[in-house]
């Protein structure tokens, strides 16, 4: 038996294949709206955040991009008028990336089609129970590979300052010193 045919490798490959396949399926709708994957994710995360804005660093933590990557994404989105930089009043080092009205409109325009895509290639294929189980398994893995993503739910201290959970959008609104969680590995 070839050790290269280990079922664990197959499992990883299947997961990667599904992810890549879904991304590829979503792409036409997104790019028809003039947004790359990362553009869409950025705009979506801003839209989900309180005040439709996020500090550059928090955006980097949420998207998995480096901070310089975020700088350039926001450069592009700002050039297109979808996002604008807003100075942070409480910390002059920081700046917010804030969704503009045009950005919000663009986002709401793609959303129905995008949701239809997700529905038709992913969630809609599964029964309620199956989807629930699938998501539960994903969360179980997520909690191991990105432990900080679940922080911020119970502990109110500054120890939870790192990246915000993907779906929770619990970004801090500003203020105190940021005890940055040491990066748990090279980004991406």
């Amino acid at each position: 038996m070839n050790p290269l045919d280990d079922p664990r490798l197959t499992a990883m490959g299947l997961l990667a294949e599904v992810h890549a396949g879904l991304i590829a399926r979503m792409q036409p709708v997104l790019s028809a709206s003039g947004l790359s994957d990362i553009d869409f994710e950025t705009v979506l995360r801003l839209g989900r955040s309180p005040g439709q804005r996020l500090r550059m660093t928090d955006l980097a933590a949420q998207t998995g991009l480096s901070t310089s990557g975020v700088t350039r994404v926001v450069d592009r989105l700002e050039r297109d008028g979808l996002v604008e930089r807003v100075a942070c009043s409480s910390d002059r080092r920081a700046s917010y990336a804030a969704l503009t009205d045009a950005g919000r409109e663009r986002l709401e325009a793609v959303l129905p089609l995008h949701l239809r895509d997700i529905e038709s290639c992913f969630t809609g294929l599964l029964s309620d129970d199956e989807l629930t189980a699938f998501l539960a398994t994903l969360r179980k893995i997520r909690d191991v590979v990105r432990p900080c993503a679940t922080a911020g739910t119970a502990t109110a201290g500054a120890a939870t300052a790192g990246a915000a959970a993907a779906g929770a959008a619990t970004a801090r609104t500003g203020g105190g010193p940021h005890k940055q969680v040491p990066p748990q590995g090279p980004p991406r």
Copy 2:
């Protein structure tokens, strides 16, 4: 209720987060061995293929890279001595990327550590039943987003010529005209 908090978006985000998190977790072991993600995937797929070789185009289909991307990956791997180009005797346009002994050794050297990583962050977290169910769900999605990946199992005709299934390594060994399946979307 904010339409941006749709559970379908959360589901997609969770899947993406798990995938990215797993990749990040695997990276240290791989890069300690001098291989990038894509290097490892390339070498692994070659190792799994009959004769430890694959035509450039087939490699592109399996990895999701463009053909030019494969050219460059193989350039790098060849420079490092892990892979070599071998002329295809039956079609002088084509060339194989073939794993060298050094490539095979490198691959077998990382494999135990890599499998340990997968085990500790993914498969090992789940009961047998849960893993089975998870993989079944993934396959269900895969069959929709990448229909050609399951071809080649029953139908013996030339219609199955496109990409080989991720785990099956059923690459054609040469010969007939290649009815390339139209790309089912922009790669990656």
